[in-house]
Amino acid sequence: MKIDHSQPLEYSTEQNKMNILGFWIFLGAEIMLFATLFTSYFVYEDRIGSGPAGAEIFGITPVLFETFILLTSSFTIGLAIHAMRIQRTKAMLVFLGITLLLGAAFLGIEIYEFTHYYHVGATLQTSAFTAILLTTLGTHGAHVTFGLFWGLFIILQIRKRGLTPETANKSFIFSLYWHFLDVVWIFIFSFVYLKGMM
């Protein structure tokens, strides 16, 4: 393995560079995946049948909390990568830990929201609108859930092996994933919630 010391650790080998580029291509496919969900959402938004409309079930408070929590977690994972680049392993792990805690808080609020929807009669079977709403939110939430486990395993691995070209590369790729989830949430926040409540 040839290590290029002029590059940050996560870019230091040819394999690492390829991994990062490969992950960007994967994110391109993820953009298209969420695009199909948003498409279906916009098409079925008004098909509420005898169920509730968006404005009746959305609440601004949980949405605000979710948005600011996810934005902050996107910031803290950025700080984690910065700490990694200046070789501050401990600070990096702290920032990663905060990121995952914020992610868990986000998920907790989203689960609360889903039970709320269920109680007000907005289930997967209620109408075309509620079906695509829950599918879109659920796909994002499933990504966050997956990210929590992924991040946790990365923390464990860094504690065990320290910062190596491999663990740095994995951490960087995980940070890309996490920022991407924040970007998707911005669009959900703007074009599902705010548009629905406008």
């Binding site: 994110l27 695009a35 601004i60 996107s74 920022h179 669009f187 926040f189 548009k195 406008m198």
Partner: protein
């Protein structure tokens, strides 16, 4: 401690909070649908760009043209899917 909070990232975070507050104006103020959607479109896409460039370090490496090309390809397909479907299935029947 200070070296752990680079100015670029802190500014990016403050800017993204600001964009969120601007987006919230469509909820708290009584705006027309068109104006509200314009605000949301601008804040959402600017926000996404901030994430991509400041936090995801998209333009830092030597393969940045490949990264931007593949991301832009994803975005173009996304926009065609969303707006093409809206045109064919919603707007055409209003």
């Amino acid at each position: 401690m200070k070296e752990l909070f680079p100015l670029k990232q802190v500014n990016g975070f403050i800017f993204s909070l600001l964009l969120t507050v601007i987006a919230l104006s469509v909820y708290f103020m009584d705006l027309s649908f068109e104006l509200g959607m314009t605000i949301l479109l601008i804040t959402a896409f600017v926000q996404a760009t901030v994430q991509l460039v400041v936090f995801m370090h998209a333009g830092e490496s030597e393969d940045k043209s490949a990264i931007y090309t593949s991301t832009l390809y994803g975005i173009i397909i996304a926009l065609f899917t969303v707006f093409g479907s809206l045109l064919a299935m919603v707007w055409g029947y209003m």
